[in-house]
Symmetry: C2
Subunit: 893 residues, 2 copies
C-alpha cells in the first residue's frame, strides 16, 4: 500500500483526530476531531507535515503518491458537496490553508475561493444567483492568489498594496468610498485590472486551470513555513523548525453571499479576563479575513458582551445559528476541557465550523480559566497547573499605572492586552527594532499590524493600533507576548510618511512619549508612574496548587531588604544569592573601599575594612531580618578590585582630592589593576586568598548580624558562599578564614548561629572536580552565568557581537545566557551534582544564575535533582509554577 500522506474529513467522520497534531497540524487535527464529533465542518483533506519535510529537502518535489492522494481528496470533497472542481456549471471552490502542529496565527499563507476562473465564476453566479458575490469572490481570489502565490506585494514599506491602489483608483473614478459600493461590473473590472497588473509585474499569466491554481497554492503554503516572519515567530515561541506545516484543502463556505451570511471568530471564554462568557465577534456578509484583518470593525456575538447599544449581535439577528453556535461551544469545551478559539461561517443561514483550537489568553485569563475549570470539575489541579504558561505570569507581576497619578487620556481604544506601558512613539516595526537596540523604550503605533511587524512588536513596550478589534492581529499577538496593547483606537490619524499621529488636532511625533493602559484601552500623553501589581485570589489558588506539587524550592537573588521583601511576598523561600559588591558603592562606603585598594599593606587594608564593617553588618542585619526563618546565601566579594576605581580623568581627579593623594597615584593603581581579561582575572576567591582580611571582614559582618538577630529572638540561617572556586584547596583556604572568624565572633557575642559555608560552582573545573570540592563544602550553588561564559568561552559583555548572528544562522538554538545550554553547560551541572553528592550525600545544591528564572532551565534543574533555584524577585511566581510543571512533566515520563 502506498504511504498515506493525505487525510480526509467531513460529513461526520474523518481519517484523523485531535491527537495527530504533529502529522496533521493543529487545524487539520481539530477539523478531523470536529468531524468525528458530528460538528458541521466543510469537508476537506489535510496534506500531512511529512510532505512539508520532503518538499523542503527535495527542493520542491513532492513524493509521487501525493498527486494521486490529493486527487482522491478533491473527489472526496466533490462527493460530499455535490459539486465538481473546475466544472463550469456546478463548480467546487476550495480554501487552501496552512496548519502547523503549534498555532502560528497569520504567520503562513492562505488562499480562499480557489477554483475560480472566467468560466467557473459564471457557474458560481448561477448557483448563488448573485452576480456581485461571484465577481467579488473572484476578485478576492485573484487578489489573494496574486499576493500569496504569485508574490505581488508592496516593494517597500512606504508603498501601498498594489491591489489596494487599483481598488482605490476604481472607487475614486466611480466616486464612492466603500468597497461595498462597488457593483458587479466594477468588481469584474477589478478582476481584469488585477490580472493585468500581475502580468505586468510578474510577466506571468494568472493561471486559469483550477488544478494549476491548487498546486500553486499548496506549494505556496508549504513554502511559507520558511518565510522570515514564520521563522521569527517560531524563534520567539520556541517552535522547532523541523515540525513543518500541514496543508488543509477544504470546501469553501461563504459568509459573504448575502445578508443571511456571516463570518466570525469567538472564544469559549473571555480571553482577556477568563470570565465564563461566550466572547466573539462577527461580520455580516463578509469573509473570515475581514474579521481578523481589522478592516471593518466587527460586532459582538451576543447581548452579554454588547458594550454599545448601536451594536448588532449575532444572537439578535440570527438567533437560530447563534443557538447552534452556543451548543457547539459547550460541546467543544466539554470535549477539549479547555477554552477554545473557534472560527465559523454562516452561509445562507447554515452554520459551518472552520476551526477550533486552544485559545490564546492573557495571563489573567489563563489563571482564571484554569482555576474555574477545576472548580467546575472539568479538569484536575495538575491539569490546571499545566495550563498556564509560566513565562506569561510576568504580565501579572509587573506594575500597573498608579491610579492616583494624573493622566491625560487622549484617546480610547479596545483593551486588547492588559498591562501598562510607557515609551516613545515609533511608527514602523523596523524603527522599533532600531530604537530598542539603542536602549530606547518604544510604543509601536500602527494603523493596523501585520505578521511582518512581529519583530517590532516583540521589542516594543506596548502596541497601539487605529484599526482592528479584540481578535485583530495586534491584539492576538500582543496577548500571546504578554504585552500591553490598545487596538482599534479610531480617533488616531496616523501619517506614516510624516511620522505623526494626530488626535483631535494634537500632533504627536515620532519620539514623543505616550503611555498605554492595555486593561482599560487608554492612550495617555507622556509618562505615567506605576504601582505594584496586586494578585487575584485565583492566582493565589493556582500558586498554592503549584506549591503542593513542586519539589524544587524557590529562592531569590536579592541584595537589599526591599528586594528581599518583594520576593518573600512573591513566595521566595530564601535568598539564593545576595551579592555583597553592590553594597560597596553606596555613599561613603566607596571611599573606604578605595582606601582599602590603595593601602600598601595588610595593616592599611584592615584599617579601611574596619570602616566598612558596620555598613556591611547593617546590610546583613536588614536582609536577615526580612528573611527570618529562611536561609540567606551571601556571596563574598566577587568582582575584580578595579571595578571600584574610577576610570575617567574627572572622577580620578575627584578621588585623588578626596583621598589626599596625587592623581598619578590613582592612575597608577588603576593601571596596576587593569587586566586583559578581567573575567578570567584576579577576582572571586582569588581576591580572598590574596587578601584574606576582606573575607574575614565579610564573615564578621555576616556573623555579627546573625548573632545580634539571634539575641533578638529572630531565627537566621546564613549560608556563606565563596565565589569562583576552581580547586578544593581554594575553598579550604577561604573556609578556614570564615570558620575561624565565625567561631571568634560567636564567642565574643556569646551566641551560637547555624551557618553553612559553601561555594559557587561557576568554573568548569569546579564541576569536573566536584567530588573533591564537596569535601569542603556544605552546599553548592551553580553560577550558571559564569559557567556558561567559561564553558562556551563567551564573554557576556562581548558575545553580543556574534551571538545574534549565531542565532540567525541557526548555530545556536537559544541564547545560552537566557536558557541553559543543557547539552554542554548542563552536563557540567549534572556532573557537579552527581560528583558532589558522591562524597557528600547531604550536599545542598541550587542554582543562582539568570537561568534560575527560566522555565525550560527550571525543568532541567528539576531533572538533575537540584534542591532549589534562585531568581530575581519578580520571577519567583514564574519559577514556582515552572517547578510544579517540571514535576508533572517528568512524573508522567
Amino acid at each position: 500500500m502506498a504511504h498515506k500522506y493525505v487525510y480526509t474529513f467531513g460529513a461526520g467522520k474523518a481519517e484523523g483526530n485531535k491527537d495527530m497534531k504533529l502529522l496533521l497540524g493543529g487545524k487539520g487535527a481539530n477539523l478531523a476531531e470536529m468531524s468525528n464529533l458530528g460538528i458541521p465542518v466543510p469537508p476537506g483533506f489535510t496534506i500531512s507535515t511529512e510532505v512539508c519535510h520532503i518538499y523542503d529537502e527535495n527542493k520542491g518535489q513532492f513524493p509521487k503518491e501525493v498527486e494521486e492522494q490529493v486527487l482522491a481528496g478533491v473527489h472526496h470533497i466533490e462527493e460530499i458537496m455535490g459539486a465538481k472542481f473546475g466544472d463550469a456549471e456546478n463548480p467546487l471552490l476550495v480554501s487552501v490553508r496552512s496548519g502547523a502542529p503549534a498555532s502560528m496565527p497569520g504567520m503562513m499563507d492562505t488562499v480562499l475561493n480557489l477554483g475560480l476562473n472566467d468560466e467557473t465564476v459564471l457557474g458560481i453566479i448561477k448557483k448563488s444567483n448573485n452576480e456581485r458575490f461571484g465577481w467579488d469572490s473572484y476578485r478576492r481570489f485573484v487578489q489573494m492568489y496574486g499576493d500569496v502565490v504569485m508574490g505581488l506585494k508592496p516593494e517597500s514599506k512606504e508603498e501601498e498594496d498594489p491591489f489596494e491602489v487599483i481598488i482605490e483608483k476604481v472607487k475614486k473614478e466611480k466616486g464612492v468610498e466603500l468597497d461595498t459600493e462597488l457593483d458587479a461590473e466594477d468588481l469584474k473590472r477589478l478582476v481584469k485590472l488585477f490580472k493585468e497588473e500581475i502580468k505586468k509585474r510578474t510577466g506571468k499569466d494568472f493561471p486559469t486551470d483550477p488544478w494549476d491554481q491548487l498546486w500553486g497554492a499548496i506549494r505556496a503554503v508549504f513554502g511559507s513555513w520558511n518565510n522570515p516572519r514564520a521563522i521569527t515567530y517560531r524563534k520567539l515561541n520556541n517552535i522547532p523548525s523541523n515540525w513543518g506545516t500541514a496543508v488543509n484543502v477544504q470546501a469553501m463556505v461563504f459568509g459573504n453571499m448575502g445578508d443571511d451570511c456571516a463570518t466570525g471568530v469567538a472564544f469559549t471564554r473571555d480571553p482577556a479576563t477568563g470570565e465564563k462568557i461566550f466572547y466573539g465577534e462577527y461580520l455580516v456578509n463578509a469573509q473570515g479575513e475581514d474579521v481578523v484583518a481589522g478592516i471593518r470593525t466587527p460586532q459582538p456575538l451576543n447581548k452579554t458582551t454588547k458594550t454599545d447599544p448601536d451594536q448588532t449581535t449575532l444572537e439578535e439577528i440570527m438567533p437560530e445559528a447563534y443557538k447552534q453556535l452556543e451548543e457547539i461551544r459547550d460541546k467543544l469545551e466539554a470535549h477539549y476541557k479547555d477554552m477554545q478559539d473557534i472560527e465559523f461561517t454562516i452561509q445562507n443561514g447554515r452554520l459551518w465550523m472552520l476551526q477550533t483550537r486552544a485559545g490564546k489568553r492573557t495571563a489573567e485569563a489563563a489563571v482564571r480559566i484554569a482555576v474555574d475549570m477545576v472548580e467546575e470539575g472539568l479538569i484536575d489541579k495538575e491539569t490546571a497547573v499545566m495550563r498556564v504558561e509560566p513565562e506569561q505570569l510576568d504580565q501579572l507581576l509587573h506594575p500597573t499605572f498608579d491610579p492616583k497619578a494624573e493622566k491625560k487620556v487622549i484617546a480610547k481604544g479596545l483593551p486588547a492586552s492588559p498591562g501598562a506601558a510607557t515609551g516613545r512613539i515609533v511608527f514602523h516595526a523596523e524603527d522599533a527594532e532600531e530604537w530598542a537596540e539603542k536602549g530606547e523604550k518604544v510604543i509601536l503605533v500602527r494603523i493596523e499590524t501585520s505578521p511582518e511587524d512581529i519583530g517590532g512588536m516583540n521589542v516594543a513596550q506596548g502596541i497601539l493600533t487605529a484599526r482592528g478589534g479584540m481578535t485583530s492581529h495586534a491584539a492576538v499577538v500582543a496577548r500571546g507576548m504578554g504585552k500591553c496593547c490598545v487596538a482599534g483606537c479610531s480617533a488616531l490619524e496616523i501619517d506614516y510618511k510624516k511620522k505623526t499621529m494626530t488626535v483631535d488636532g494634537a500632533v504627536y511625533k515620532e519620539g514623543d512619549w505616550i503611555s498605554l493602559d492595555g486593561s482599560k484601552g487608554e492612550v495617555i500623553e507622556g509618562k505615567v508612574p506605576t504601582v505594584e501589581p496586586k494578585l487575584s485570589g485565583n492566582f493565589g489558588k493556582l500558586m498554592s496548587w503549584a506549591d503542593e506539587i513542586r519539589k524544587l524550592k524557590i529562592r531569590t537573588n536579592a541584595d537589599t531588604p526591599h528586594d528581599s521583601e518583594v520576593a518573600r511576598n512573591f513566595g521566595a523561600e530564601g535568598i539564593g544569592l545576595c551579592r555583597t559588591e553592590h553594597m560597596f558603592f553606596e555613599g561613603d562606603r566607596i571611599k573606604a573601599v578605595r582606601e582599602m585598594i590603595l593601602a600598601e599593606d595588610e595593616a592599611g587594608r584592615r584599617k579601611a575594612l574596619e570602616k566598612l564593617l558596620p555598613y556591611q553588618r547593617d546590610d546583613f542585619y536588614g536582609i536577615f531580618k526580612v528573611m527570618h526563618d529562611l536561609p540567606v546565601t551571601v556571596r563574598t566579594l566577587d568582582p575584580p578590585l578595579h571595578e571600584f576605581l574610577p576610570h575617567d580623568e574627572a572622577s580620578q581627579k575627584e578621588m585623588a582630592e578626596e583621598m589626599g593623594i596625587s592623581v598619578e597615584e590613582v592612575k597608577a593603581k588603576v593601571e596596576a589593576l587593569a587586566e586583559f581579561n578581567p573575567m578570567l582575572g584576579h577576582r572571586g576567591c582569588r581576591l580572598g586568598i590574596t587578601y584574606p582580611e576582606i573575607t574575614e571582614m565579610q564573615a564578621r559582618a555576616i556573623i555579627e548580624a546573625a548573632c545580634q538577630l539571634t539575641k533578638e529572638g529572630i531565627k537566621v540561617f546564613p549560608e556563606i558562599m565563596i565565589p569562583l572556586i576552581g580547586t578544593k584547596a581554594e575553598l579550604e583556604h577561604q573556609k578556614k578564614v570564615v570558620v575561624e572568624t565565625a567561631e571568634k565572633v560567636m564567642e565574643e557575642m556569646g551566641v551560637k548561629v547555624d551557618y553553612l559555608v559553601g561555594t559557587m560552582i561557576e568554573i568548569p573545573r569546579a564541576a569536573l572536580t566536584a567530588d573533591r570540592v564537596a569535601e569542603a563544602a556544605d552546599f553548592f550553588s551553580f553560577g550558571t552565568n559564569d559557567l556558561t561564559q567559561m564553558t562556551f568561552g563567551y564573554s557576556r559583555d562581548d558575545a553580543g557581537k556574534f551571538l545574534k548572528e549565531y542565532e540567525e544562522k541557526g548555530i545556536l538554538p537559544d541564547d545560552p545566557f537566557q536558557t541553559l545550554d543543557q547539552e554542554g553547560v548542563g552536563q557540567l551541572v549534572e556532573m557537579g551534582v552527581k560528583k558532589g553528592r558522591s562524597t557528600r550525600p547531604d550536599l545542598k545544591v541550587g542554582i543562582c544564575g539568570e537561568h534560575g528564572g527560566d522555565p525550560r532551565s527550571i525543568d532541567f534543574c528539576h531533572r538533575v535533582g537540584l534542591d532549589y533555584v534562585s531568581c530575581s524577585p519578580y520571577r519567583v511566581p514564574i519559577a514556582r509554577l515552572a517547578a510544579a510543571q517540571a514535576e508533572l512533566r517528568n512524573r508522567k515520563k
Copy 2:
C-alpha cells in the same frame, strides 16, 4: 611486637636493602645494600621516613618506641666499633645525616663528629694519638652543630658566617693564612670562642651530654625536611612533600686523622661526558665536607683523569686503598647496573664507603652511559631509554657558541656543566631572581654557591664560581638543572659589596654582559653568537630505541619553513600546529589585513583578501615542501581582529596616512573592535563564521599550495584545523566553506589532494560534546593552553598575579600552563577522546598546547590514547623520549 622504626646495618649485614628507599631514604637503603654486599661501611642505623611524618604531624613528638630503638641502634654500633658513646676513655663518635627517598644533595642538614665534649675529646686524642686532630674534630663539631642545630647563621646576605669570622680573627692574630696552620691550642681556643659566641647569640649553652647532642641532631635533620631550600628543591624536582626524610646515624670514620687519611667522592663513570673512566676527587687529611664545599681544590683520583702534572692522585699515594676502591666501583656498577656517585673515607689507610647512589650526570653523559651499558650487556634498551631524563636532553639541543665567532676569553675555570650561556652579571641569587622576573638574562657569579642559592641558579642562564671543583655544589646542581656552569675559576676576584668581578685588573660590574662555555670552562667577555648543536651517535641510537618503543607520534608547532626544518631534523613526524596569524604581520601583508578589517562590506574584504592570498599560498608552499610526506595541520585565523590594528596614537596616525583615511576612522575601528575579555570574544571560528571569506581565502591558499606541490610530485597532507569550536554547528559551518573551496580549487587545478578538516578542542564545551563535534571532524587537536584558561577561568595574561601566590600557598601543585592539570583539564581531554571516538572510531587525536612538550603531560597523553603530541621544534627529542618512557612506564603497570 613494637613497630619497627629503626633499621641497623654494618659488618656485612643489614636489616634493610636497596629497595626500601621510601622507608629508609636513598642513603639508608644503599648503606644497607652495601653492607649486604660485604662492602666496608661504618656501622650505623637508619630512622625511617615514617618517623618524619609522625614528627611533623605531632609537632615534634616522636613515637614512644623510637627512643628505645635508637638506644639499641647505638648499642649495635658500639658493639661493632668496640667503643662507647659518651665514654671518656674510648668514645664513639657518630654522624647524623638526612637521607630522603630521592636525592636532594645539600638541601638538608648533617652533623658530624657528634659525641664530642670536653671529656670525650681527650679520649679521642688519646685513641688517635693526635691532639690537633682531636681539637680540630671538636671545633668542627661545635661549628656544625652550632649552625645546624642551634641555628647560628649569618643574619643577612652581606654578613659572613659568624664562625668563619672568629676563625679569620684567630688566624690574623696568629699571622697565618691557612686553617691548616692553626695548631691544637688554636683549635682548642676556637672551641671555646665558638661556644661563647653560641651562648651570646642564642642564650643557650652548648650541650655537653652526647645523648642530648644526638637527639638535637636527629630533630634538626627531621626538621630540615621543611626548610625553604628543601621545599624549593622539591618543587623544582617534583619530589612529593609527603615523602619525608630518614635519618642515618653512623659511626664516624675520619679522613682527617693524618696523612694516611683521605676523603673523596667519585663517579663510576665521567658524569660530564659519560666516558667509562673512574672519575673522582679526594683530599688528603680532610673531612668529606671539605671536598664538596669547594674550600680546598681537590685532587684527581687516578692517573687517567689527571689534567696537570702537579696533581697528586690517590692511585699514586695510596695504591692499596685505590685498588680496593676500584674493585668496589666495579662491584657497585655490576650490582646497580648504573653509574654510581660514591663517597669514601680512608682512615689510617683503611677504606670505608659512606654512600653510593645513582650519579647525577649531564645529558651527554646520561645518553652515553645508557648506550654504553646496553652495548656492555649491563642493561637492555628499555632500561637505557628509562635512564635519561627527557627534560635533560634540552641541554644537548640548544645552540653552542659559534666556533668561528671572535671570543675574548678572560678566564678559565672547570667545565662543570656543558652548554653555552650569555647573560648579564649578577652576584646574589636574590638579584638573579629579581632580574629574571623583569625578563633579563643573567649569569649568576658567586665565589661559591650554597643550597640557599638554588632559586637564583634556577633562573640564571649560567653559573660561574670562583671556587670549588667538579663536584662542588654549583657543579652538581647546575648539571642536574641542565644549566651551563663554569666552576672554580680562581682568577676571579669577587667583591659582593661593590658588586664587581675583577679579572687581571679588568673590572666587570653587575649588569655587564659575559658568556660562559660550560663545556670548555671558558669565561668570555660580552655576548657570543651561537650555532646549532650537533647530536652524537649515541644520541641517535637512544632516540632510535625510543622511537621503536613509543606509541605516540611526535609532531611540532612550526609556522615557518625554517622552524619546520629544524623540527624535522629533530625527528618531528609532522606539524601539529601551524598558526597562520603570525604570517599576517610580515611586510606588506599587514596593510592588506588592515584593509580587510576596515572594509565596509564583503566585497571590500574580498578585495583585500585577494592581496593576501598569494602570500599565504607561498607560506604554505614553503612549509608543505619541507614537510613533504608528512601531515601538516594548519589552523585558520584565530586571534581577534583588533590584534592587527595599532593601539598607540603614532602608529594609528601612520596607518591612517598609509591607508589614506582619517585617524578618527582608524580610532573608531579600534574602538569598535575593542573587547572587555578578548580571550572570550570575537575570535577563532567566530570570525570565520562572521566573515566566511577569510576562511575561504585561507582554504584556497592551503589547497592551491598543496595542488601545486602535488603537480611537482611532492606528497603533501594538509589538515585544516578550525579553532575555538564550541558546537558542532560551528564546525559544520566552517567545514562547508573549506570543503567547497577545496573542491573548487582542485577542480581548477586539475589535481586531487588528500586533505582533512578537523578542529581544535580548546573550549570546554567542545570536549563535553565531543561525540557530536566528532561527527563533523576528521581529527581533534587539544589546544590545552586555551582549554586550561577556560577550565580554570584563568587568563594567561593576568593569572601571573595570583598563580605564583597559589603555588606558594600550596593551592596548586604546578603551574597548570606548564604541566597539564590532569585532575581537571585532563578530565576534559579524556572525555573528548572517548566521546569523540565513540561516534568516530578512526578519529585522529593530538595535542598542540605547550603541554605537548612536557614529559609528565606526555605521559598523560599516552595514557588517554592520543595519536600524537605536538611541541616546539627544540622539544621534539624530549617528547620522543618522554613518549617512549610513557609506554614503558605504563606497560609495566
